[in-house]
C-alpha cells in the first residue's frame, strides 16, 4: 500500500493493523510525533489525515492507504506556521513533549474556526493532555494565532 506523509509517498507492506504512529516513529524515524498513551486518550500523537486531526496511535495503517498525512515536521517550513510562532511568542512549551500534538490540534481548530471562543478552544483541545500544565498559555497562543491560519 501507499501512504503520503508530508507530501512524500511511501510504500508499506507490513502489518496493516500497525498504528500509523509506529510507522512514522520506528520505520520513518521521524520522532516529532510523540507516543504517550497509545489509546487515543492524550493527543500527543496527533497528526492530520487529509487535514483532520487524528490520533495516530490508534489509526491502523490500513486506514491511511491513499491518504495525505501531515506531521509536525510537515506543518510548515522552518516551524513558521502561525501556531508555531504563537507558541514561541507565549513561551508555551515546558518539557515540550505534548506540544507537537497540541500544535497539530490547534492548527486544525484554527483552520476551521478563525475566531474561537474560550469555550470553543476548551472543547476542541480537551483531548490533549499536558502534564506540565501549559493550558493557559495554549489558550493564549491559540488566540494570538487566530485569524492568521
Amino acid at each position: 500500500m501507499k501512504v503520503t506523509i508530508n507530501q512524500k509517498t511511501f510504500d508499506y507492506d507490513g502489518d496493516p493493523a500497525m498504528p500509523l504512529l509506529w510507522f512514522i516513529r520506528d520505520d520513518l524515524k521521524m520522532t516529532g510525533t510523540k507516543f504517550s498513551c497509545g489509546m487515543a486518550l492524550c493527543g500527543a500523537c496527533t497528526v492530520h489525515i487529509d487535514g483532520e486531526p487524528t490520533r495516530s496511535c490508534q489509526l491502523p495503517m490500513s486506514a491511511v492507504q491513499g491518504k495525505e498525512v501531515t506531521t509536525i515536521e510537515g506543518l510548515s517550513k522552518d516551524a513558521s506556521h502561525p501556531v508555531q510562532e504563537a507558541w514561541r511568542e507565549h513561551n508555551v512549551p515546558q518539557c515540550g513533549y505534548c506540544q507537537s500534538g497540541q500544535m497539530m490540534q490547534a492548527a486544525a481548530l484554527l483552520s476551521k474556526n478563525a475566531d474561537p471562543s474560550d469555550q470553543d478552544i476548551e472543547s476542541y483541545m480537551s483531548g490533549n493532555i499536558c502534564r506540565c500544565g501549559t493550558y493557559p498559555r495554549i489558550r493564549a497562543a491559540i488566540k494570538t494565532a487566530a485569524g492568521k491560519v
Binding site: 510523540k34 504517550s36 509536525i72 515540550g96 506540565c132 500544565g133
Partner: protein, 753 residues
Amino acid sequence: MTDSISTSRRAFLKRTATASGFTLGLTLVPVSRPSAMFADAPSSESLTPSVFVSVHDNGQVDITCHRSEMGQQIRTSIPQVIVEELGADWQHVNVVQATGHPKYGDQNTDGSRSIRRNFDRLREAGATAAYLLRAAAATGWQVDISDCEVNNHHVVHKPSGKKVGFGQLVAVASTLPLPDVKQLKLKARKDWQSIGKPMRSLDIQAMTSGTAVYGQDVILDNMCFAVIQRPPVVFSGVESVNDADVKKMTGVLDVITLAAPEAPAMFKPLGGVAVVANNTWQAWQASRALNVKWSDSPNISYDSKTYREQLLATAMAPGEVVRQQGDFATAKQQAESVIEAQYYAPHLAQAPMEPPAATAIVTEDKAEIWACVQTPQAARQVVAAALNLDPENVTINVTLLGGGFGRKSKPDFVVEAALLAKAMKRPVKVVWRREDDIQHGYFHTVSAQSLTATLNKQNKVTGWLHNSVFPSISSTFNPAANKPSDGELDLGMIDNPFDIQNLQLERGEANAHVRIGWLRSVANVYHAFAIQSFVDEIAHQTGKDQQTLLLDMIGPDRHIDFAKSNAKYGNYGDPQEDYPVDTARLKNVINTVCKKADWSQRHKQGRYLGLAAHRSFLSYAAVIVEVEVDNSGSWSIPKAYVALDAGTVVNPEHVRAQCEGGLIYGISCAIGQITASNGQINESNFHNYQVARMPQTPVSVEVSIIESSAPPGGVGEPPTPPAAPALANALFAATGNRLRELPIPLTVKRIKS
C-alpha cells in the same frame, strides 16, 4: 575588533599581536591545575577552567548543563547565570548536556535545587573564565587586570577602550593559573543583565518544530525494541511463560525473562518478561500474547480500600510525638470548643507525558545509555552494578525529559535497557507504555491525617494536634521502615508556622505494599492539603475570614525557632541561618495573592474563592483558586492566582510558567487516584487515571513573583502544594461541601443552595 575564527594557533597569535597590540614576549608557563571543579586537560584551542565552561579559540562558548531538562528550562537558566559573569554574547553560546559523572557535583534534578544549590558555583565558574580572559588581555596589553572588563564576548580595556574578542585570548588564557575564588569579583546585583531577565527558552525552536529529542525518541543503528510485561504485584516473579510460542511471532527477536528483585526495591528493575522485536508495535503485540504464571508475593493482599480504614484509624489513635510545645492535653481539657477533622489522600502516579524509556549499547567492558533520567549519576551506578562494570566505563547520555515529576529520578528502566542490550548484543530501546508507567511506578504515598484544634472563649486557637500517617519512601530502600521518616515530616508538617501555644505533632506507623517514591513536592502535597483545609474549616466554624485567621495563626514576624519545641528541622538540607522559616515572607505572599484576587470583596462580587499558602523547598507560595459550579455540580476554574517568593530568581518568565504548571499539577494531584486490589494497581491509562485536562484548569493564572534579594529558593515544586486545598476551599465556598478526601470528584454535591 571582532571575533574571528583562527585556523591555527600561530596565525591567530600573530594576528592578535598585530591587530590588538599584544606583547607576546612573556614566557607563559602552563601550570597544572588539579581541582575537583576541573575538567579535562587544558589545550590551547580551548579554555576550560571548570566543568561548566569552555571557551574555544573560534569564540564559541560551550556551557555545560549538568541538570536534567524536564520543562523548567534549566538549560536556559544555568547559561543565564554563567553568561552574567562571563560577559558572553548569546550568539556564540552553545549548551552541552552533561553526561552523568560525579565531577559535576550533585546532578540529581530533584528537590527544586538546581538553581539554589548551584547559583554561587555557576557564577564563580563564569567569573573564573572571565578572570582568565581578562588576565590574558591584561598580560597582552601590559595593563592592570582591574582595568579590564568582560563585555559582549570581548575583554575591554576601560581607560583606552581597546578590546579583544574572547576567542583570541584563549591560547594565552589557557596557560594562566586559575584564580583563587577570593580574587573573583562577582557582579553586583544592580548590574545584572542576564540574571533576573525573562529570557526565552534556548530549546523552544526545537520544541516547536518537532526536532527535540526525548528518551523515547532515541534512534541508534541496528537498534531493536523491547516491551516488558512486569509482575502485577511487586516482588512476584515469573514461574512459567509461553516464550517459545511468542518467539515465533512476526518481528520477534527474542523473549527474555528478567529476574524479580529481592527487597529492598531500590532502583532495581521489577523483573518480568521482555519481548524484543524489530519495532515497538511488534514487541507490544507479541507481549499481549504472553501467558505468564506469576509467583506469590507478600504484597498480594494489598487492598487500598481496607488500607484506607487502617490508615485513618492509626491517624486517630495517639501517635509518636515528633514536635511539641506547651501542653496540648491540658489545652484540650480547658478548651471552650474543639474542632477535629481527618484528611485522606490516595496514591498517585507521576505520569510524566513521556513514559520512561532508555536505549543502551553494551559491549564486553563498556555501556553507553541514552535516557530521560533525572539522576544520571544514580543511573550510572546502578547500570555499572548490574553489568558488573567500572562506573567509569558507563556513559549516561541525558536526553530531554518529557516531564519527570520524580518518576525519572528512579533509573530502574535504565537498568532494564542495559540488561537487554547485553543479552541481545545489539542496541536495545526499552519503551515503557502508559500502562507500564501507571501500574509499575514508584507511587506517591497514600496518607491519612488527623487534625484537632482547641479554641478558647474568644475563638482563638490555643492548641493544635496533627498526626500524619503514611507509608514512607524510605521503605523503598529499607523494608523495615514502617513509619513516616523525619525527612518526609519536614516537608510541610514539622515546619508548622503557626504561633499556637500548645502544639503537638505526631506520626503513626504504616507499612508499604507498593514501591513508594517522590512526586513533585512529595509530602508537602498532602500536608498542605490537610493543614490549609483545616484552617478554612476553623475559619468557617468560628465565623472568621480565612485570610485574617491564617495571618493571625501565623502570628508575629519571626524566624521559627525549632529548638524551642525540641524539634529538629532539616530545612531541605540548607542552613536555617541562610533560609529561615520566615513568617513575614509567608504572610506577604498571602497578602499579595489576596490583594490580586480582590479577596475581601469576593462575597459582594458573588465569587467563590479558595485560599491556601505553604512554604516548601525554601520558598513561599500562596494560591487562590476561583471556581464556578453549575447546577449539576460540575466545576470549572475561571481564574487562579499565585504569589511566589522564591528569593532571587534567574528567569522570571520560566518561574511564572512553573507557577502556572505547578498549580495545575497540584489540581491533577487533587483529582487523580491510584488504587490497588490484590496487590495490583487498578488504573492503567488516562481513561481511569484522571489528570487535569484543559476544562479542569484555570482559563488564566495571574502570577505575582515577589521581588527579593534573598538567596534563591526552589521554584519547580512550591506552587503545587497549595493547589489542592485552595481548590477544596473554593468548592466548599461554592457548595458547602467540605472535601476532606481526595480525589475531588469532577462533579461536587451541593450542600447549600
